[in-house]
């Protein structure tokens, strides 16, 4: 698939001197769901804001379907929909009016049928005459999505769409995102939940300290992120790993008092059951077993360290 959004050497330094984006380059493929993962302050929102025109880039360029977002901003912005992280809505306006306003603002003629279909799709039709102040947090977020979809964008940016919402809403949101993708909309969402990226993304980009550390197909990244360690504390320390266990690539720890087994949770077979029976066969008795998974934070740290 060709890239619908091309970010080249994008740099953003704020007036206070903080460099939020460091020469970011990124291609977003048409029709994909790209999840941008990163801790707070990584530069996710700055990147989205710069693509959408809210923040002015210090240097570098962004093109949306071949239109430069600064020089040819009208054509570029007409193709983009943005759902911000904060719930920003005029409290006393009716839902339907605020959605109609968004459509007009993006240069589209009034189209009540389209507005109705967007509101129905987001289960907001029954609330169309409610003031936004009367809605629940989840509903308000849906209104923001409806506003972003009002002008029929081809690229939709969702900035932390499920931050602070309940599980049901999160699943609803994922369903909505998949439906939009089926309609041909390219979706970029930022999140710091790995499960979210895992659930819906085609590709995952990792961003930290203003740098894109990697962009990878979800499946291959999940294999890397899905590695887990099991620590096997032994009753008696051993001087060397028995030959019969050589296939497990065990590492001795605590001067032979413990063995470390690394395995892949996303693999079809983790090999744990077989390892236990082979340990017994080798005459090793276990005192305790602990498992741990490297957190996303740790992976970020590793990635940053590797990048230096």
């Amino acid at each position: 698939m060709p890239d619908i959004v091309s970010v080249r050497d994008l740099d953003k330094t704020y007036a206070g001197g903080f460099r939020a984006l460091k020469s970011v380059s990124l291609g977003i493929r048409q029709g994909e769901i790209l999840a941008l993962l990163g801790p707070n302050g990584a530069g996710k929102t700055t990147l989205i804001s710069t693509i959408c025109g809210i923040t002015t880039p210090t240097s570098g360029s962004v093109e949306v379907a071949g239109h430069d977002v600064v020089r040819d901003y009208r054509a570029a912005r007409q193709l983009i929909g943005l759902v911000p992280q904060e719930i920003n809505l005029e409290p006393f306006e009716k839902v339907i009016n605020t959605v109609r306003f968004s459509r007009g603002l993006f240069g589209r003629r009034r189209d009540d049928a389209h507005v109705e279909s967007v509101l129905r799709q987001l289960s907001l039709w029954d609330k169309r005459d409610s003031k936004t102040v009367e809605l629940s947090g989840g509903m308000k977020r849906r209104v923001l999505i409806a506003k972003a979809l009002a002008h029929e964008p081809r690229v939709l940016f969702l900035d932390e769409p499920t931050a602070g919402v309940d599980v049901d809403f999160r699943r609803d949101m994922w369903e909505t995102v998949r439906r939009l993708q089926a309609d041909g909309v390219t979706i970029i969402l930022t999140t710091h939940y790995i499960e979210e990226a895992e659930a819906i993304a085609d590709r995952i980009g990792v961003i930290a300290r203003g740098e894109i550390l990697l962009v990878e197909e979800k499946d291959s990244l999940m294999r890397r992120l899905g590695r887990k360690e099991m620590r096997l504390d032994l009753h008696e320390p051993i001087a060397a790993v028995p030959d019969s266990l050589s296939g497990y690539k065990l590492q001795r720890s605590d001067e032979g008092g413990a063995l470390i087994y690394t395995y892949d949770t996303s693999a079809e077979r983790t090999g744990i059951a077989r390892l236990f029976s082979d340990l017994t066969a080798a005459g090793l008795r276990l005192r305790d077993v602990q498992t741990s998974q490297s957190s996303l934070e740790e992976i970020f740290v590793d990635l940053v360290r590797d990048g230096q």
């Binding site: 704020y14 804001s49 959408c52 025109g53 809210i54 923040t55 002015t56 901003y73 009208r74 054509a75 570029a76 912005r77 007409q78 983009i80 943005l82 911000p84 904060e86 920003n88 809505l89 005029e90 409290p91 006393f92 306006e93 009016n97 109609r100 306003f101 968004s102 459509r103 007009g104 603002l105 993006f106 240069g107 589209r108 003629r109 506003k147």
Partner: protein
């Protein structure tokens, strides 16, 4: 030109006006009526004609200007400050619109609101005083130009303001004194010569004078100068707004 966007902003802003119709209309009409009662009927009855015009009628253009100027500023400044305050400005900044379209929408709506209020006050004046408008087209032109220019100023104030206090600061400390001292309730010729010269530095004098001329053919300064002053002020405001959007001052990071 993205006319759909201009229309969208205009309609959205006017919807707010109609939503708060009572406070938007009733409050300025009541306060102006009080001016008519106090200055026109109570005090005015003791004052002779000013420049050949009955005092009650003489203050009508000034009173309309007073309301229209303050309303234009407060409508436009609130119109653009509110999206900044609640965060909805993100949508405006990410939309395919240029500064002229944003200004046309917000300032157009703010100016329309104050024009409506100005005309209602004019209508109200007929209940209190005997009034003739010698040049109705010029009267309307001055009114529209004033509404637009001061809505532009209000728009700038709305972008400049970082909080509600600042939003009130300029209208309260600068504009209201200028309008009161701009000849709303008196003719400049009634002042001592030295103060007459000082007053000529007050831009509002030119507005009120031109507007009053359209009613009574009586003016403190030549009407062409009034027209030039208001057009110059409008150009200045437009240039400032153009610069604001070009640099993103106080609106874009």
């Amino acid at each position: 030109m993205n006319w759909q966007a201009v229309r969208a902003i205009y309609v959205y802003e006017m919807t707010r006006f109609f939503r708060t119709l009572l406070q938007s209309l009733i409050s300025p009409v009541i306060s102006t009526s009080l001016y008519f009662v106090v200055f026109g009927a109570a005090i005015g009855s003791r004052i002779d004609q000013v420049e050949g015009v009955a005092y009650g009628a003489f203050i009508v253009p000034g009173l309309i200007m007073l309301t229209v100027v303050t309303q234009s500023i407060s409508n436009a400044s609130f119109g653009i400050y509110f999206p900044k305050f609640i965060g909805t400005i993100y949508e405006l900044l990410s939309a395919p619109v240029n500064f002229l379209e944003i200004v046309a929408g917000y300032v157009g709506a703010a100016a329309t609101k104050s024009l409506v209020i100005g005309l209602i006050i004019l209508g109200t004046a007929f209940f209190f005083v005997e009034l003739r408008i010698l040049h109705p087209v010029w009267m309307l032109s001055f009114l529209v130009l004033t509404c637009v220019s001061f809505a532009l100023l209000g728009f700038i104030i709305g972008i400049w303001a970082r909080n509600f206090e600042q939003l009130q600061l300029v209208p309260l400390l600068v504009v209201t004194p200028l309008v009161f001292l701009g000849g709303s309730f008196y003719s400049i010729s009634m002042l001592p010569p030295a103060w007459q010269t000082v007053t000529l530095f007050n831009p509002v004098v030119y507005l009120i004078s031109g507007f009053r001329w359209a009613f009574f053919e009586q003016a403190d300064v030549p009407v062409a100068l009034s027209l030039l002053a208001i057009l110059g002020f409008m150009t200045l405001c437009l240039a400032a707004i153009w610069w604001i959007f070009r640099t993103g001052w106080r609106i874009r990071n």
